[in-house]
């Protein structure tokens, strides 16, 4: 049986950017910018490419807590240093992915890496929040530092480029990140004039963010850099043709059918759990980070 086309619901322009801390100028596509159903993905912040002048100042976001979900940082240009209260630290370089499971609670901070700041240069990042099912919200925090060289690669046919699989599977190739619910995150690099086909179950919430280039989707609609293509839950197959060399962040996942309660950096199932998270944070139960 032939797969039915997963059709485009809408093509969304990047919302007006806002600052996160003093280091990240991001467009929040959801949940703030557009009220779209993207569960298990709860939030998408996109720092479109900017050229940063050299600086000695430390720019970024100071110590803050998270509970109940995972943060996924995908670096395209620039470098971000981070530290957390579990003792992890590292630098996310272009092409790298940091998949941090905050789960039961963690404090962390993220700054432009010192050497990068001193030199300046292009800066381009994505941060995703991936929700956790209730049963895993209070699990132990963990941290997957995925370097670019460790991403799984699926070559496209006809020398069309490649799909870097961060999490999930593409054409039988599985990415390195482990997840709590079924989902797929790829960077698809498609050469001008070439194409790629993606297949996800109809029920999976799916969206593509065009990082670079211009593409045509299902032979019908075009989208360019910094646009987000939000798909309907009406079919499985998406075909993409690149009008120029293009890079697309592909997100698709099985929705988590549970109630959501969010306050600031906490993502839980009800208000009582939010109150508990605030109180635990205030009382030092997330640990300490300078």
């Amino acid at each position: 049986m032939e797969n039915k086309i997963k059709s485009v619901f809408s093509i969304l322009d990047a919302p007006q950017p806002h600052m996160v801390g003093d280091g990240f100028r991001v467009s929040n596509f959801f949940p703030g910018g557009y009220k779209i159903k993207m569960s298990p993905f709860f939030l998408l912040d996109y720092n479109a490419k900017v050229l940063l002048p050299p600086t000695d100042e430390l720019r970024g976001v100071g110590v803050h807590p998270h509970r109940g979900f995972e943060t996924v940082t995908i670096a395209y240009h620039g470098a971000v240093a981070h530290h957390d209260s579990a003792g992890n630290s590292g630098i996310i370089y272009p092409g790298d992915v940091q998949w941090m499971t905050a789960a039961g609670g963690i404090l962390h901070k993220e700054y432009h890496e010192k050497e990068f700041s001193a030199k300046g240069g292009p800066f381009q990042m994505v941060q995703l929040w991936v929700n956790l099912p209730a049963k895993d919200k209070m699990s132990k925090p963990k941290y997957q530092a995925i370097e670019h060289k460790d991403l799984a690669i699926a070559e496209l046919t006809d020398n069309g480029g490649e799909v870097e699989i961060i999490a999930g599977t593409y054409n039988g190739v599985t990415g390195p990140a482990t997840t709590f619910t079924p989902l797929h995150v790829y960077n698809a690099k498609i050469k001008a004039g070439k194409s790629a086909v993606f297949n996800f179950p109809a029920a999976y919430n799916t969206g593509f963010l065009v990082i670079e280039g211009e593409i045509s989707i299902n032979g019908q609609e075009n989208a360019g850099a910094s646009q987000f293509i939000y798909f309907k839950n009406d079919g499985e197959e998406i075909s993409v043709e690149a009008k120029e060399d293009s890079l697309i962040l592909v997100l698709s996942g099985e929705p988590i059918q549970e109630p959501i309660a969010q306050y600031g950096p906490f993502l839980m199932n009800n208000q009582q759990e939010i109150k508990q998270a605030i109180s635990d944070y205030n009382e030092g139960k997330f640990g300490y980070l300078e």
């Binding site: 807590p65 109150k275 605030i278 640990g287 300490y288």
Partner: protein, 197 residues
């Protein structure tokens, strides 16, 4: 829900007040929005307005001769904030400004007095609220004179649970009358006591 209904609900939690009675007494209340970091009142000025915060965060503070800020009060959602020298036609000693974008209801000076003509129990509520405010300030003076930094912080997080997520540490330290370093130490000690427990 129209913003003004939040004030109605606030009063209805405290006294028996019908929607019709509220309609009768609320004519002078207006809605105002302020940008983040907007100074609403400065020392030397007078303002007889009381603000009921619908959304956002306001604060009142003084600034000493070295330019250091001392925060008197935070007013997050459903708190009332006013400067009381002005009620005696004297210039303010304090600043009032916004720490976040704010939507507030502006309640005129004579609200309680005029409202009590129509709804007599409003007068009792006014006295209760003033007494409560005095009680709160007595406790605050006592904490500032006698409590340890940790006791002050533990009291603060009970009073204003989510402000630790909304304002920088130095503002909390300023409110508590301790240095930011002391506040860091308190939080570090608490983490050592409670982390992974």
């Amino acid at each position: 829900m129209p913003f003004i209904n939040q004030f109605k609900a606030y009063l209805q939690q405290k006294i028996a007040l019908t929607d019709e009675q509220f309609e009768l007494i609320s004519g002078g209340i207006t809605v105002k929005t302020f940008a983040k970091n907007q100074v609403i009142l400065s020392p030397g000025e007078t303002s007889i307005k009381t603000y009921f915060v619908v959304e956002g965060l306001m604060r009142s503070y003084s600034m000493d001769s070295k330019g250091k800020i001392h925060i008197i009060q935070f007013a997050p959602e459903h708190w009332l904030l006013s400067e009381r020298n002005s009620f005696f036609n004297q210039p303010s000693d304090f600043y009032i400004d916004t720490t976040e974008p704010v939507t507030a209801l502006v309640i005129p000076r004579n609200f309680f007095m005029e409202a009590s003509v129509h709804v007599p129990c409003i007068q009792d509520l006014n006295i209760t609220m003033l007494n409560n405010s005095i009680r709160f300030m007595q406790k605050r003076i006592n904490m500032l004179l006698s409590a340890t930094a940790e006791e002050r912080y533990l009291d603060f997080i009970k009073l204003y649970p989510n402000l630790t997520l909304r304002v920088p540490q130095w503002m909390i330290a300023s409110y508590l009358g301790i240095t930011p370093e002391s506040l860091s130490r308190v939080r570090k000690d608490l983490a050592h006591k409670h982390f992974n427990k």
